[in-house]
């Protein structure tokens, strides 16, 4: 039972405009730092998602942290501005209910102080204390909820969610909510298969990464989720770095200087997990976002050192694809002062 995280208060903070987002020291140390060695290259890097390590973001199957309430507020703002960020093709209704069940049950099991789920046949009663929500509804009947099941529950769950239909030995992104993504459009990509929505990623296709990843994902079974980590960098703790708003946040990419890099440049970690959904046979693909500023990284010497070495050795195509070119050198210069050149310990956890 994930009790330590449940003692933390929820922060009041913003991910836009005045950017008051801050990580507490505990939140920094529990982050799923993505680099387990001093350089980075694409890998399938999937592993089983189980045996939650206490004191880490893997502790609970579906992680809730101090940013929960403010992230959900930012999500609601994005959806007000652009309802196309949450869509579900008509045949994905059953998968939406599977998703609602999975996320509600996971939250109620891991954080009983905050979430309660009572199930009496199809009559469910859900309480979400942090967001002040109480809802009685009939499982399977959309008319008993204020939104469709996918939108309803993901408005109460941190991170983006893609719901993938499995057909013809492939996975199809046929539903999702995407308000915290790194630069891709749900409205454009919905309906694409696994290789198609990954088409713009350089190098990885030639390495056969996606063939192996797809095979692994197709083998994910009910009750046995998997996970992997991905990463990029963001200027300001902005969750909504969508292509839709690129003309709004794009200019910020040129604003990093050596004076502001510590507090304005963020490592953006994506904890991706893969869950087989029982009734629809679809796969739920949560993409949970963790933001660590360069200053946050500097409080964990091993991580600052690693980040320094990863950025120094990053292949140019990856740097360009991830949008790092404008500020990579500034970040390298800032982080270099924490790197004394000695070997780092294996694994990603802090020393």
């Amino acid at each position: 039972m994930a009790t330590p995280a449940s003692q933390l208060p929820f922060r009041e903070e913003t991910f836009r405009d005045d950017f008051t987002f801050t990580n507490s020291p505990e939140t920094v140390r529990r982050a799923p730092f993505p680099f387990d060695q001093d350089s980075y290259m694409y890998a399938v890097n999937m592993e089983q998602h189980r045996d939650g390590e206490p004191g880490t973001a893997f502790e609970a199957p579906i992680d809730v942290d101090e940013h929960y309430v403010s992230e959900m507020r930012d999500r609601a703002l994005v959806l007000d501005e652009d309802p196309l960020r949450c869509q579900s093709l008509p045949h994905m209704a059953l998968a939406g209910w599977d998703t609602l069940e999975l996320l509600m049950q996971a939250k109620a099991d891991s954080y009983p102080d905050w979430f309660t789920l009572d199930r009496d046949g199809d009559r469910w009663h859900w309480i979400n204390r942090p967001l002040g929500i109480e809802q009685r509804f009939t499982f399977g009947d959309e008319t008993t909820l204020p939104y469709g099941p996918l939108e309803y529950i993901t408005r109460q769950a941190q991170g983006d969610f893609c719901v993938l239909d499995e057909r013809q030995g492939n996975l199809w992104m046929d539903a999702g909510i995407v308000t915290t993504q790194a630069d891709w459009s749900l409205d454009f990509d919905i309906g694409m298969n696994f290789f198609e929505w990954h088409a713009p990623v350089p190098l990885a296709h030639e390495l056969g990464i996606f063939e192996r990843a797809l095979k692994y994902m197709l083998s994910v079974q009910i009750g046995a989720p998997a996970r992997r980590l991905n990463w990029t960098m963001t200027v300001n703790p902005r969750l909504d770095t969508s292509p839709e708003n690129y003309h709004v946040w794009g200019p910020e990419n040129t604003h990093i200087t050596e004076e502001n890099v510590a507090d304005k440049l963020y490592l953006r970690i994506e904890l991706q997990s893969f869950w087989r959904l029982p009734r629809s046979n679809a796969l739920l693909f949560p993409i949970r976002c963790y933001l660590l500023s360069m200053r946050d990284l500097s409080t964990v010497p091993k991580w600052a050192t690693r980040m320094h070495r990863v950025l120094k050795s990053l292949p140019p195509e990856l740097s360009t694809y991830k949008g790092l070119d404008n500020y990579r050198q500034i970040a390298i210069d800032y982080l270099s002062e924490f790197d004394d050149g000695s070997p780092t310990t294996p694994g990603a956890r802090p020393d």
Binding site: H91, M92, D165, S219, Q221, A224, R279, N281
Partner: protein
Amino acid sequence: MSSLHGAIEVVVSDVVTVNELIKRFHFKRADGKPLPAFSGGSHIVIEMQDGDTLRRTPYSLSSSPFDTDDYQISIRRDDAGRGGSLYMHEKVEPGMSMSISHPANLFALDKRAPKHLMLAGGIGITPFMSQTAQLARTGGRIELHYGVRNRDLGTYVDELSARLGPDLHVYLDENAERMDLDRILGNQPTGTHLYVCGPEPMIEAALHSARRLGWPQAHIHHELFTKTAPGEPFTMTLQDSGVSVEVGETQSMLEAIENAGIDAPYLCRGGVCGQCETRVISHDGELLHADHWLSDEERAAGDKIMPCVSRCRGTLVLER
């Protein structure tokens, strides 16, 4: 002994003789919690400890996917097989504890389809039982054609008739009733998907007709109940694990690997899904490919094998 992936401990709650060839087995969860809901067309792997022999065999769930109290499978007795169905028919009784896997689905409905056209032969009716139960709840047009030897062996005709009414069409072999494939396949509205399950010749004939009539591959689905055939025992070396393992007469290579305590990937255990594909480092003698996954070139090249159904006449070294 490597453990069954994601095993659920169950108790046999009932064994029903459906007809002279088929028995139905009911399972309830041992700890009293609900069983997982599943999708129509799913199968479970049953683990059978038959004396010294450990078998892991997949069977389609024929119960409703929304019934989380009771799983049902229907097994046709096969006197010429490895002994799995004989074990189930003769040794399994109510009250026995067994281990089953979580449901997995390799024969799922295409949820986009406005209409589902199902062709079933004999015991091939089982996945359609759970699929029609699912569609009864979620909606979707169905047309089911079911060929059986005689009325007695028409397992579940009554239940399906109640569920589908005029959308069920039954063909009795003993009356020389045959499915008119050209007529059935020639008049389906745009968007219909075709699903076929039954004996291999029946599936071949249906797929052949569908393709000839211009049905696109993306609208055609089939499930073949491939059985691991028995064969001469042989020895294999698992190079990565550093062990030599004997594969018994009625044991699959996959079961032999698991019996040696080595965990190997699998999903369908029937030679169709590709998950257990293993590299053959070298072999002496002949690889006996019995799968439906590898291409002809891959089989001829001799550097891959599907251990769930294939065997070797000779010896071989695997990358496992």
